[in-house]
């Protein structure tokens, strides 16, 4: 287990917009230990998704460097897998083909693909849905497919970009608990972007708080509440209050 499995050193991102340069992220340094569950919390426009996309190798930082599994990134690392809010499922592929896609891209042989896909469909509660198409599934089921697909390449870190942001509260709660279960079983590192304080407190070992314009890492808050966590407990409420103050939204960021 490496204490610095994912490391960002003074990472910044500036976009060249039509009306001049826009600084999305400035001077972010952080590290994430292997097996850790870290939430990136902030209001919209604070650059947290941008940072995640850079760690996924989908965008390059304008300044600084990102190291994943001991190597500086020059593109997507095989050690990570990303899950998007709008799931990114291919509508013309069955659930089976969707789940196999990442393995196909990495050149995994067909028999091996079948076996691993079945394993992950089982893990995410999708056994029996392999032949369905995405439009036949509910939002929660679709995101399960997205997670199953991300897990098939046995990533050492799962990068999740507001994966439950588009779901209703009840489905969201279900999937949060399932994700913690998967995390406990697979022992993967999870980097989880969210704008929901409650979600971050429920899930994370550590919360990285971001503030906007330009996006900056404002604080790092450790969560030492025992798991499984109870959102109605005293400690949960106190931590949520503290974070609410940091984000500068008394009314909450829900």
């Amino acid at each position: 287990m490496s204490a610095r499995f994912i490391e960002c050193l003074d990472v910044g991102k500036t976009y060249q917009g039509r009306n001049g340069a826009v600084e999305a992220l400035r001077g972010v340094s952080l590290s994430c230990a292997e097996g850790e569950f870290v939430c990136l919390l902030g209001l919209s426009g604070c650059g947290k998704s941008t940072l995640l996309q850079m760690i996924a190798g989908l965008e390059t930082p304008s300044t600084g460097q990102i190291i994943v599994a001991g190597r500086e990134l020059d593109g997507p690392s095989p050690a990570t897998s990303i899950v998007f809010q709008d799931h990114g499922l291919f509508p013309w592929m069955s659930v089976q083909a969707n789940v196999e896609f990442n393995m196909k891209a990495r050149g995994v042989a067909r028999a091996e693909r079948r076996a691993r896909a079945a394993e992950m469909l089982d893990l995410t509660g999708l056994a029996g849905f392999a032949a369905r198409y995405p439009h036949e599934l509910s939002g929660g089921m679709r995101q399960r497919v997205g997670i199953a697909r991300a897990l098939t390449t046995r990533p050492r870190a799962l990068l999740m970009d507001e994966p439950f942001g588009a779901l209703d509260a009840q489905t969201r709660g279900h999937l949060q608990r399932e994700l913690l279960d998967i995390w406990a079983r697979q022992r993967t590192t999870v980097l989880f972007v969210t704008h929901s304080i409650d979600e971050a407190v429920f899930l994370a070992d550590r919360i990285l708080v971001f503030t906007p314009r330009p996006g900056q890492l404002a604080a790092v808050v450790g969560v030492d509440l025992p798991r499984p966590r109870d959102p109605r407990s005293e400690g949960f409420a106190a931590l949520s209050r503290q974070l609410r103050g940091m984000l500068g939204t008394e009314g909450g960021a829900e």
Partner: protein, 253 residues
């Protein structure tokens, strides 16, 4: 209220009644406007001739549009995928697609003489632009997250083109094919009136010169019906190939 499938025939039948009425009223002399029954008779009397010419026209359209598909779709996928190619070819495409294929008949005859070749070249051109442009359009419309998924998974360019770009563009490719088949059918008839010695276009022109108006009408009817059936055919294939689209769009017919 559920409307029957064949309700689309009603206006067509109405038109035939109107035609019969015009014949009875003798608005035009019967040598110019033959009665519907007489035209129907032409299908019996000239059945072989009509069939042979229809097959000749169909064959040209099939070859021309087939070539346009084989060239236009892969080119469209690449141009839509790579911005460099788009910048390189955009002006050329916009220039050439504005030229009606018919206007190229004289040149095609100079280069290829009289026969199948000039017709097929013109049909190819009539089909190429709608296929190319709609394919490009389809590739551009792809959801960005899907490309991110592929990039994050480390997918190679060949896999991205085959498993993501092509299926994503398929509904638009079929729109292009529909327009191409329609345009190709229009073009073949015109080309046959000038540059070929067989086919429905030639048959109609020949019927005019030998003064057989019922054969002119029969030819026109065949052209219309084949056009309609061609459109049905393309739509049917589209429904089979894009069945995953059902339930995604409001009007996925």
């Amino acid at each position: 209220m559920r409307i029957g499938r064949f309700v689309g025939l009603v206006p067509l039948l109405g038109l035939i009644l109107l035609w019969q009425g015009a014949v009875w009223a003798q608005i035009y002399p019967p040598v110019l406007l033959p009665a519907p029954m007489k035209v129907l008779g032409a299908f019996g009397g000239h059945g072989g001739e009509i069939l042979a010419n229809t097959m000749a026209s169909l064959q040209r359209v099939a070859i021309g549009i087939g070539l346009a598909f084989v060239v236009g779709v892969p080119a469209g996928l690449l141009i839509g995928r790579f911005a460099v190619l788009d910048r390189l070819f955009d002006w050329s495409i916009q220039t050439f697609r504005s030229i009606p294929p018919i206007s190229l008949i004289p040149m095609a005859m100079l280069f290829f003489g009289i026969g199948d070749q000039p017709a097929i070249v013109l049909i190819f051109l009539a089909g190429l632009w709608p296929l190319l442009l709609n394919t490009i359009f389809g590739v551009r419309g792809i959801e960005r997250t899907l490309l991110k998924v592929a990039a994050a998974a480390g997918a190679g360019e060949a896999l991205i083109l085959r498993d993501i770009i092509l299926p994503a563009a398929l509904p638009n490719i079929f729109t292009g094919l529909r327009l191409a088949v329609g345009g190709g059918w229009l073009t073949v008839v015109t080309a046959e009136m000038i540059a070929v010695k067989s086919g429905l276009g030639y048959m109609i022109l020949n019927a005019q010169m030998t003064f057989r108006p019922e054969l002119i009408f029969a030819g026109i009817i065949v052209i219309g019906v084949v056009g309609l059936l061609g459109d049905f055919g393309v739509q049917r294939i589209r429904r089979l190939a894009c069945s995953w689209q059902e339930g995604l769009t409001a009007n996925a017919t």
